[in-house]
Symmetry: C2
Subunit: 345 residues, 2 copies
């Protein structure tokens, strides 16, 4: 486990997408984040106190989280110098970047000297099994998407919180760097070797018999030509009872691929159900989650209503309007069967 509380790093970032890990922590682990560390040229903020390493340490921060992404996932000199400052102040450092902290000798030497730890959350667990597809007990919900980065992690966490709010046991199962930092554990699926994708998810969300839910963070999209293999293995490993389709209505084309259009929601939903049925024959779609951050409230509510009508499923922006409509319907679909009526006389 990565010791909290955290100082969230923004550094010199000027790209909202690039700070999504820091923002996710601020959104879902707010109480564990003492502040954000950004340089003067960083125009972005998480809306939490700005502080430097010394102030953060004084406020109790134990780990600097390098919650940013940059081109190629590399540790540049700026990033290394800043991490060295945090280490010198006695803080651990955690990173979800592709280039590992432990591969940078200066960081390793400094951490050893001070006695703090380096956490590379993109490391895949050792000794993952190949998936076996055996039906396992428990209720699992998987978020799927029309594209990458459409809000699957946010939707999954909101569904967890809404279930917990009504006393249903519910656990978030993280499959990406940000989710892992929020949850404290998980499997960084994009670092798993291809043969073990489904097996990794079988391990991440094992059989459970407490009538609670595992809410599994989806990745990629069956319609993204770069990552559909990951999404396929995730569907098979998850054996979901329920899937929730996530979508960004403002997305003009598949992420990073201007030559690919987004699928329509009905086609995407049916394709996901078809793939999921291989290991979970009775899988049901139980909702649509829209990321409406770029729409005004009236337009967002209207779009949710229209989408619900068109697809015959509850639709909400779970982060903006709450996940209750989807949770209501999911719990209804999977309620224990009513006791059978026995004919009297």
């Amino acid at each position: 486990m990565i010791p909290g509380p955290y100082l969230l790093y923004l550094g010199h970032s000027d790209d909202e997408v690039g700070i999504k890990t820091s923002r996710g922590l601020a959104a879902f682990r707010r109480d564990d984040c003492v502040g954000e560390w950004r340089h003067d040229d960083c125009p972005l903020t998480l809306g939490i106190p700005r502080m430097d390493v010394a102030a953060a340490r004084a406020a109790g921060a134990r780990t600097l989280v390098l919650g940013i992404a940059n081109a190629g996932g590399r540790l540049g000199d700026d990033l290394i110098d800043d991490a060295l400052l945090a280490i010198a102040a006695g803080m651990n450092v955690a990173s979800g970047l592709h280039q590992r902290l432990r591969d940078e000798p200066r960081l390793v030497a400094a951490a050893d000297a001070v006695g703090v730890a380096l956490f590379d959350v993109r490391d895949a667990p050792a000794h993952l099994p190949v998936g076996n597809g055996k039906r396992r007990a428990g209720k699992r919900l998987l978020t799927v998407g029309t594209d990458c980065s459409v809000g699957k992690m946010y939707a999954t966490l909101c569904l967890r919180d809404a279930m917990r709010a009504r006393g249903v046991a519910a656990d978030f199962r993280a499959t990406g760097q940000t989710g892992i930092l929020i949850a404290g554990d998980g499997v960084p699926l994009d670092a798993v070797v291809a043969d073990f994708i489904a097996g990794a998810i079988e391990v991440l969300a094992p059989a459970r018999d407490d009538d609670g839910w595992d809410l599994i963070e989806g990745q990629g999209s069956l319609f993204h030509p770069s990552f559909a293999g990951v999404s396929t293995g995730l569907l098979h490993g998850a054996q979901p009872a329920a899937i929730v389709l996530c979508h960004d209505p403002m997305r003009a084309h598949m992420r990073g691929l201007p030559h690919y259009q987004l699928p329509d929601l009905a086609t995407c939903l049916e394709a996901n159900l078809q793939v999921a049925r291989l290991t979970s024959p009775d899988v049901q779609a139980t909702g649509i989650a829209l990321n409406t951050v770029k729409l005004d409230e009236d337009a967002a509510r209207r779009l949710c209503a229209d989408t619900a009508q068109a697809l015959g499923l509850p639709c909400t922006d779970p982060y903006r309007f709450g996940a209750d409509p989807i949770v209501d319907w999911t719990l209804t679909c999977f309620a224990p069967a009513a006791p059978a009526m026995t004919a009297s006389r």
Copy 2:
């Protein structure tokens, strides 16, 4: 490149499936294999001369190929001792086992001392890109399967040979250990990190404009719950113009999974076409390849005829009866369009 000729290792193997790499080399690189090395307790043979290391060396062998698989893909002491004998005799050693030769200090030290090389063909190339899905020039055919290990590699190689026999430029693109040893290069797809499956295939079979064919070795099956992610990424990365469905009619259940039945051929073909259309909208199925090794010739020919009739596609056992029916139809489907007729006057 791995220096030939080869000595093919069977060792103490008593399981036909376990020697498939050695058998594949004997089948498709016969002229480069001086013999097989098996111990007295090995009941199997490739039908080529049995010889020990000294005899193989005298016959010109330059590399011992550990063309066997064992539980867990590990290098046991037997295997290491035998590899050390080959090294002492001046031979290189090549392996497709999961456990790497280079991770065994005794082998590394011996190879260094003698001046020979160790080849781990399961190593994935460094710096693979993420797939981009951009349409690229050239004609590619991908073999797909109802299951793992149903003859996709054999079918692909037979298709190549049949195309070459009629003067069509055709290259085999290997995606597994055996195929890589046969071809001399390729990408061991099961060792590639999940995010790079499609990208690896885009690199393996790049654009070509010589009117020739890239024949890509398929892996897994969309209907195998352990490996469908690999098959999906392979379909997307390959952008196949044509797919050929491979099937073992005697397979009782999905390989390794008694609780999963095989899909029927029509369902499997349609699912593969549907996935392939994302990056190759005009993809066509051009044949069915059956592995009829366990049927007598009459039954095999009848089954091919019945299957062709049922699916409306040429069907053959390409290794037993030749790949011509599929090649004929494939070349017909993708023949250059006849010059447009111009109306006279």
